[in-house]
Amino acid sequence: MIHFVILLSRQGKVRLTKWYSPYQQKERATVIRELSGLILSRGPKLCNFVEWKGYKVVYRRYASLYFCMCIDQDDNELEILEIIHHFVEILDRYFGSVCELDLIFNFHKAYYILDEILIAGELQESSKKTVARLIAAQDTMVETAKEEAGSISNMISQAM
């Protein structure tokens, strides 16, 4: 299983973290620090797998972001690379040429997307189209609810 997902900027700032195994808050901070040091210092030609504390961490750099996923020893690293790419492509389609800034200001949307791809550290959906459709449907629901709320408050404020 995937134990956690971390998105790191080149300067070591955390853009997204998702934990599928029990890590306490302090442990999480330590893990992030360690992995930042380990991964950010690796050269570009080296392989994308790092051994860390009995786990394997698969990472890939997209522009200024490092996408890192920590897996067990017996998992398929090449598949995880594909899952990372899957995630990035869906983000790309959703945001339209996604960049780091998109992920900073719309982090909650990035999380929603991740939740449609992975649950319990396992892959949920291999079809990008399906994921996009589900996200779009939920976004529509949010929009509709906001509009309704807006219109009700309008009515109330107009009535007052």
Binding site: V14, R15, L16, T17, K18, W19, Y20, P22, Y23, Q24, Q25, A29, K45, L46, C47, N48, F49, V50, E51, N76, E77, L78, E79, L81, E82, I83, H86, I104, F105, F107, H108, Y111, Y112, D115, I119, A120, E122, L123, Q124, E125, S126, S127, K128, K129, T130, L134, A137, Q138, M141, V142, A145, K146, A149, S153
Partner: protein
């Protein structure tokens, strides 16, 4: 609703934080926002809860504490609207972890949401449950999830399946509930459901043996069908990745097949064909294809495959190895390490490629390749392989050098068939990477050299040459110094020249030069210098003309700040000056060291670790133990571990074989080692000699003292009549025993946890055979002893006379002592030494107690 009441919008807050130039500024902004959020929470402001939680999540990602927002998440989850629930669940998953008790409060909301009519809300709940539920929550909500597995909506089904995975991981007992449901999932067509379903089945197999059997029986057919369909399906843009339809599904099905086929030959046979098909059809050039092939190879290795299939798998790995992509090579090396266990021959074919990988620029690949090479070494290929590795050792980076050296050393040790080859390789390694070589390795080398008399000349000459090329390698220097000391005359007189050697002339003063240089050089540490001092002493005896020069060199160090060096210098100086006659016997060639220890290491690495553990308990080499009478002893040198004596057991009080003492006294010097002094009664030595193995150096004297409390003797006999300075103490590795000032000092004859007996001796000058012993008894326990009776027994040639004791009441805690005079007459004085068996009886707390002992540590010459 006042649009200004709740402060900034999320976007503005993020902008403000990003605009901060310093950490302090950022902290200030964050603090302000947190304060606003906190007041909004306490006022139960409904309107901007959504936004506040979003802000709180961002602040949490920056690393600030946000626990005050946890209850807000719960309230959001409990609200009716979808947007609130959505952000509430997200906040829950981000701000809480499963160990927080607040999580329990969500159980009810989760239950309601799992039964909601809105499918998306059900989805939210399943997602949250699947990501962070605790064991209790899993147990509580499992029935709901089971029900949802039967839902019609594939979105719900797939989420429920993954949620079930978490549930059975947390509560393995519930696995059986999910079994049949999971099996039905495999009949679905929807890819998302298939993927989750297959994953659920895989986890069920991991968790429960029954599940594994059930799935094996019922689902294998279905799995093969799924794989066939997906691998032969036409192009589908929705699932296509790099020309392959849904590689994720491929991989998961392959994995489940592996779990089913493991250990079961029928299933393995059944899936043979489809595996072969996938393995041969899939293309190698894209990562997706490689991922599938990798999983395929893993599956083939994991089941009971036919040999044809295995060969196919290893060939795929071979192709991986030559791929330029680092990832693929890494993965291949990993797999090959596992494959070696299965089919070593096939892997051997790829040896050259693997060797290339050892030299790769990527550290992970290098490490893996080295491990693999180590597994591939056998008697046939060991020589070329070692040559390659040693060649590489010259150019390797520092961080990798240690690993590589260790591996080379252990390969050479394990597989060396001839001593000469072994010695050659070790010399090369020492000159290239001596600093990384561990102590036990070069000790083993010394043992081997001492066991190969025909190669000793060759060794010392090669070392001498190597020394000039790489003087900075510490272990090389030490081995060289030792060899020059021991085999100096072979070096100078070109004894035992092998055909392959070039002629070389080394004069005596050259040899001394080398040693002097080591002594003086700043880069030598204390151990090296100590060894040089001893080697110099040996040379002064082997090459008498250099004696004067050696003496000068040694004298310089009499004032050294390092205690060990100073002591040695003083002692050796006094040997050279005053004890010319025994000097040669002192520094005689060391006896052959016991090679069985080195062979023991070959057989089992665990042994070596046992011995190294023992050495860790002993004082580090170079320090000395101080004995009660202030004379220090050389500490246990690491060679002791090699000797791995029956020092597992506590030293046995061996019978006082006086022949042993005979030998030590110099009557038969060819057998005795230089420096095994007649330490009368050091048990370890007696053990060794009575066993009859070549007299081994033993430095376990510290061990003895810790084991039994027998202090080590340091009494060389001599009085004015006998000039024999019997050197006490034990040596190893060329450490010389000290020369002791001739005095009869008292000994601790017997020591247990409750009683200590010391003997002090006086002799009358006209009666050398008679010794008066004053025995002092000290009570070490907390209770007083009464009716104290001391009895002694002596060998036949000794006469014993016991005077009455001063009292038979021994106060506790050494508050008083009882003394008793014992007169012994040694009928064979000068030939045999004293020994005594003692028996002490006393009463403590109205209980009779008896202690028995044997005293072997009488000073010789009594």
């Amino acid at each position: 609703m006042n649009p200004f009441s709740s402060g900034t919008r999320l976007r503005d807050m993020i902008r403000a934080i990003r605009a901060c130039k310093t950490a302090a500024e950022e902290r200030a902004v964050v603090r302000k926002e947190c304060a606003a959020i906190r007041s909004a929470i306490s006022e139960s402001d409904q309107g901007y809860r959504h936004r506040n939680i979003a802000k709180l999540m961002f602040i949490h990602m920056l690393g600030y504490p946000t626990h005050f927002g946890q209850m807000e998440c719960l309230k959001l989850i409990a609200s009716a609207g979808f947007p609130e629930k959505r952000i509430g669940y997200l906040g829950l998953m981000l701000l809480l972890d499963e160990r927080q008790e607040v999580l329990m409060l969500v159980t009810n909301s989760l239950k309601q949401d799992l039964n909601h009519s809105n499918q998306y809300i059900v989805g939210l709940a399943l997602c949250a449950l699947g990501n962070i539920c605790s064991t209790e929550m899993a147990r509580d909500l499992a029935p709901e999830v089971e029900r949802l597995l039967l839902s019609r909506d594939p979105n719900i089904k797939k989420k429920a399946a993954l949620c079930s995975i978490r549930i059975i991981r947390k509560v393995p007992d519930l696995a059986e509930n999910f079994l049949s449901l999971a099996a039905t999932l495999l009949k679905e067509k929807h890819h998302g459901v298939l993927i989750s379903g297959v994953q659920l089945c895989t986890d069920l197999c991991k968790v429960s043996e029954d599940a594994s059997n059930y799935l094996r029986k019922n689902c294998t057919e279905g799995l093969v069908r799924i794989l066939k369909d997906v691998s032969s399906s036409p192009y589908s843009p929705e699932f296509d990745i790099a020309g392959i339809t849904d590689p994720f599904l491929h991989i998961r099905v392959l994995r489940l097949m592996r779990m089913c086929g493991q250990g079961d030959s029928d299933t393995s046979e059944y899936i043979n064909d489809i595996l072969a098909q996938v393995a041969s059809k899939t293309e190698l050039n894209k990562n997706a294809g490689n991922a599938i092939l990798y999983e395929c190879v893993e599956t083939i290795m994991g089941i009971e495959a036919t040999s044809g299939l295995r060969v196919l798998a290893i060939n795929i790995l071979g192709r991986f190895l030559s791929n330029r992509d680092n990832n693929i090579r890494y993965v291949a090396l990993n797999m090959l390490i596992k494959a070696v266990a299965v089919d070593s021959q096939a892997v051997q074919r790829h040896r050259t490629t693997i060797l290339e990988c050892v030299k790769d620029s990527d550290a992970s690949i290098r490490k893996r390749a080295l491990e693999l090479v180590y597994l591939l070494v056998n008697d046939i290929n060991v020589k070329p392989l070692t040559k390659e590795l040693i060649d590489y050792l010259e150019v390797v980076d520092h961080d990798f050098k240690g690993d590589l050296t260790a591996k080379i050393c252990s390969i050479v040790e394990k597989f060396s068939q001839e001593k000469k080859w072994y010695i050659d390789q070790m010399f090369k390694v020492l000159s290239l990477a001596g600093n990384y070589v561990k102590d036990n390795v070069w000790h083993a080398l010394i043992v081997v050299i001492s066991n190969a008399p025909d190669l000793q000349g060759y060794s010392v000459r090669s070392l001498y040459k190597a020394f000039y090329t790489s003087p900075e390698q510490v272990s090389l220097v030490r081995v060289t110094v030792w060899c020059i000391g021991e085999y100096g005359e072979m070096l100078v007189n070109n004894i035992g020249v092998l055909e392959v050697e070039e002629p070389m002339t080394v004069t005596e003063s050259d040899a001394v030069d080398v040693l002097e240089a080591r002594l003086i050089s700043h880069s030598s540490d204390t151990a090296t210098r100590s060894m040089s001092l001893i080697a110099l002493l040996k040379l002064s005896s082997r090459f008498p003309p250099t004696s004067g020069r050696v003496k000068e060199i040694i004298t310089v160090h009499k004032g050294s700040f390092v205690l060990e060096l100073q002591q040695r210098a003083i002692e050796f100086n006094s040997i050279i000056q005053r004890h010319q006659n025994i000097k040669s016997s002192l520094v005689e060639r060391m006896p052959v060291l016991d090679e069985s220890t080195v062979i023991v290491k070959r057989a089992g690495p665990s042994q070596a670790s046992i011995s190294t553990e023992k050495s860790n308990q002993q004082p580090p080499s170079g320090t000395s133990l101080k004995l009660p009478n202030g004379v220090a002893k050389p500490a246990a040198a690491p060679l002791v571990d090699l000797l791995d004596l029956s020092s597992d057991d506590t030293p046995v009080s061996a019978p006082t074989s006086n022949d042993f003492l005979h030998d030590l006294l110099g009557i038969d010097l060819t057998n005795s080692s230089s420096g095994i002094a007649p330490a009368s009664g050091t048990d370890i030595l007696m053990d060794l000699l009575s066993i009859g193995t070549p007299p081994v150096q033993s430095n376990t004297s510290p061990e003895i003292s810790s084991d039994k409390g027998l202090s080590l003797i340091t009494k060389p006999a001599s009085n004015s009549v006998h000039v024999v300075d019997l050197l006490d103490g034990l040596t190893s590795n060329g450490y010389l025993p000290e020369v002791h000032i001739p005095v009869y000092s008292s000994i601790t004859a017997f020591q247990s946890s409750t009683l200590k007996i010391t003997f002090s001796f006086t002799k009358q000058p006209d009666k050398p055979q008679v010794t008066q012993i004053l025995a002092t008894f000290i009570n070490l326990s907390f209770d007083a002893y009464t009716d104290f009776v001391f009895q002694a027994a002596v060998p036949k040639f000794v006469k014993l006379h016991l005077d009455p004791a001063s009292s038979n009441h021994l106060p506790s805690n050494g508050n008083g002592a009882v003394t008793q005079t014992v007169t012994v007459t040694n009928g064979q004085h000068g030939q045999k030494s004293l020994a005594m068996r003692i028996r002490i009886a006393y009463k403590v707390n109205n209980q009779e107690k008896l202690e028995l002992g044997q005293i072997n540590n009488f000073p010789p010459g009594l």
